[in-house]
Symmetry: C2
Subunit: 465 residues, 2 copies
């Protein structure tokens, strides 16, 4: 399969040169020998460096320390951390304790972002004790099969990054590195994968080893070749999946290096922000609160849940929402809501019980017949009671600033942050907080990745009359 | 079954005295003998006068002229009308031609509202040629069975009138006189009927002769004793049915003459109207157009359909409606809409095709990528395209005044009236048109019949502190 000139061009930039390769492997091998020398664990390089599928400039070196499976979990953690700290100090790094399924050490060694992760050296992937034990099997599987497709993986990773769909973290909800490798393997290269993806539909199942042992309802299912009960694509959202499908269609119809250039989000200035607000005519509300201390993979889904909860609260109260999103900053988080309607009349229609149920009907009538705030009713429509009463919240801003907000099924840590530290409600131009300028800009200029490229290309070309 | 004092009291007012009885029957008998004398038809008194179930003060005398079934339809109409005109003139009345399933004559004779209706004297109800041929069978059926229950029918009719649910015309959508008689027959009296009705539910079937030969999906099904394929309650709406159920509950819990007093709708003055508008805070829009020449039973359902069509048009354009209704006046019709939201921002969210369909996706993108009025997008959410574009109508009043209105699936004659004579759009205080003051008052004071009584009783009683 011949490559397009633009693909060759991209490869020449992203493929690590021999110098980069030997520099990284020198460090890696030194780390491995120190682990092995300890006598208590065996070292193994995993991830894209182990598989030769890293893109030039990547600085992530993952070294796993494989311990005997007979070691109790507590001792694994203790011995693993102790060994990792010793190694870090020996290489002049500062150890930072992090936590996935169990604790590990992250550090910087001669410019590389190194993870030192303890795990169990189990005999087969079906015998894993902790999820990290699976990683060595992934590395062995890819290393064995990837021959001849390394360049295709590099192209595909760069393509996914440019499309904003690379990474299985909670913020991105996109394609993990291992998933990229499996897809290239399955379709036999970058181009065949892209050509197939334009016809992807939700519910697609890819089972390379033909050994699926569990059903999944995810939009894309890629059965793990080393674990028949695991979907490698579980964290891919349906939005990211179809942004990718659209991105592939765009590439095939007009291939160019644009599809490999990382997206630099356009940042608005304050006057452009003001103009956008006034042209849209909507009401923009931001809620800001102190960022909880937890890691992004905990906080981001909670922000998402909070946005959904507050959207439901606003809609229950009759306000009409166009779109909402959230952003986790260092100091503060922002939940952003664009409302079509943020002010409502005093009157609100309240739906009651059906008339055929005498008990509920009687309770309902008792409640409303002597109620001073009734405008009309109770009346009957199609067998159901209705009454028109005074609305609790006529103004969306007042609702968002009220205690009602913390009852809006927020994420746990967001709710706690708001209850302890309070929150601010900002409207329209006041939403323009410096730390959130890129976020707000992207919110207003919201486009799919392909549309961003099309729009950029269009602005660059001379306009047809 | 003993009657309550209030029932006895009501009966003493609504039961025709001997004088009224003999006066009406004197006219009826004279009319009958003139029909018989013609030699071409036989006279028959039908309706409530024939059955002795008329309420004192009723002035409707229905005389049917039964022709031989072998007579062709055209000749029946010609001979029937000619005979009726002759009789009318002879009794000093002015003949007015009206039309049900075929033409008949309506006139006023010594203060009675007399209908002279030609029909076929068929041998059985199953052999009817036109729907009016069924009426003599109804009269014979009720006359034969109603012995001893005449007072109960009178009470029940008065009760239904007071509850606003008497009459099977399109405006009322309530209980026809024949339906009232059948229900009293079925339950064995006024009180057993009212006691049963409090537990009515939608879908109830009453089949006195146990001969149902067709399924119905109406809220109440009462199989016609003279026609197993007909639902006598077909024109009863579910709203009227349950207003009646609620009215019965109210009567049983506190029986009083109030439940037999015709409802006098409270009419607002202009200052009270202004105050109601300002308290509700909603936007009231009225559309008025020339009343079509057709009878109410044609026009009223078309007004209803037009209100539904315009409501859907408003909602499609993002406006939020609380309630809508219509009124057919002599000169003009009014369609009234109460909006919670009548002004919207420029921005509108437009939902596009799913991304997985490449053909539709491509068409959609072509349409919007170069569109100047795009605020955001196209973007992808959960596998679907969306775009945020400029809204066509930001103001509900402008939409209602535009040509778009006549494409809103209006009733046929309403649409024609609007297209030929135009229409006016009035807002808030301008809706206060003299001919529609009772209609607008009832619209704003909207209550079920029972609630009207409760409210009236409450206002009359001294308030508890």
């Amino acid at each position: 399969l011949s490559r397009l000139p633009c693909e060759e061009e991209v490869l020449s930039h992203i493929k690590p040169e021999t110098g980069e390769y030997t520099r990284i492997w020198k460090v890696a091998k030194e780390l491995l020998s120190v682990v092995d020398e300890s006598g208590i664990a065996k070292g193994m390089v995993v991830g894209s460096i182990a598989r030769d599928t890293w893109v030039s400039g990547d600085r992530d070196l993952d070294v796993f320390m494989l311990f005997d499976p007979s070691l109790p979990r507590e001792e694994l953690e203790e011995q693993g951390l102790s060994l990792a700290r010793g190694i870090t100090t020996r290489f002049g790094g500062v150890p930072q304790e992090k936590y996935a399924e169990h604790p590990y050490i992250n550090t910087n060694i001669v410019g590389l972002d190194v993870d030192l992760v303890p795990c169990y050296a189990v005999e087969s992937a079906s015998a894993i004790i902790s999820a990290v034990d699976r990683t060595p099997f992934h590395t062995r599987y890819i290393t064995e099969k990837i021959n001849g497709l390394v360049d295709d993986v590099l192209l595909f990773k760069q393509f996914s990054k440019a499309g904003g769909v690379y990474g299985s973290d909670q913020m991105t909800e996109g394609f993990a590195g291992y998933l990229c490798e499996l897809l290239v393997l399955h379709y036999g290269g970058f181009r065949p994968l892209v050509e197939a993806a334009v016809r992807w539909h939700a519910g697609l199942v890819i089972d390379i080893e033909n050994h699926q042992a569990k059903e999944f309802s995810d939009p894309l299912v890629v059965i793990d070749p080393v674990d028949p009960r695991r979907n490698v694509a579980a964290s891919l959202s349906v939005t990211r999946m179809f942004e990718f499908v659209e991105f592939c269609r765009g590439y095939l119809s007009a291939p160019s290096e644009l599809f490999f250039q990382p997206h630099e989000p356009r940042v608005l200035g304050f006057p452009a922000f003001q103009e956008a607000l006034s042209e849209r005519g909507t009401a923009l509300y931001a809620i800001t609160c102190k960022t909880p201390g937890e890691i992004p993979d905990i906080v981001v889904p909670q922000l998402r849940r909070s946005v959904a909860g507050i959207t439901a609260l606003l809609e229950r109260n009759g306000f009409v929402i166009n779109r909402a999103d959230s952003s986790m900053g260092e100091e503060k988080c922002m939940l952003l809501f664009e409302l079509l309607v943020d002010h409502l009349p005093a009157l609100k229609r309240h739906s009651g019980p059906p008339v055929w149920n005498p008990v509920n009907a009687e309770k309902y009538l008792k409640k409303y017949i002597q109620n001073e705030s009734v405008f009309s009713g109770p009346y009957i429509e199609d067998g159901n009671y209705y009454v028109e009463i005074r609305r609790r919240w006529q103004d969306a801003g007042a609702l968002l600033a009220s205690r009602d907000l913390t009852n809006a099924s927020l994420g746990k840590h967001i709710e706690r942050s708001m209850k302890v530290h309070g929150w601010d409600v900002l409207k329209n131009e006041d939403c323009w907080q410096e730390a959130f300028v890129p976020f707000i800009s992207t919110f207003l200029e919201h486009r799919s990745p392909l549309m961003r490229i099309q729009k950029a290309r269009e602005s660059a070309e001379p306009q047809n009359p």
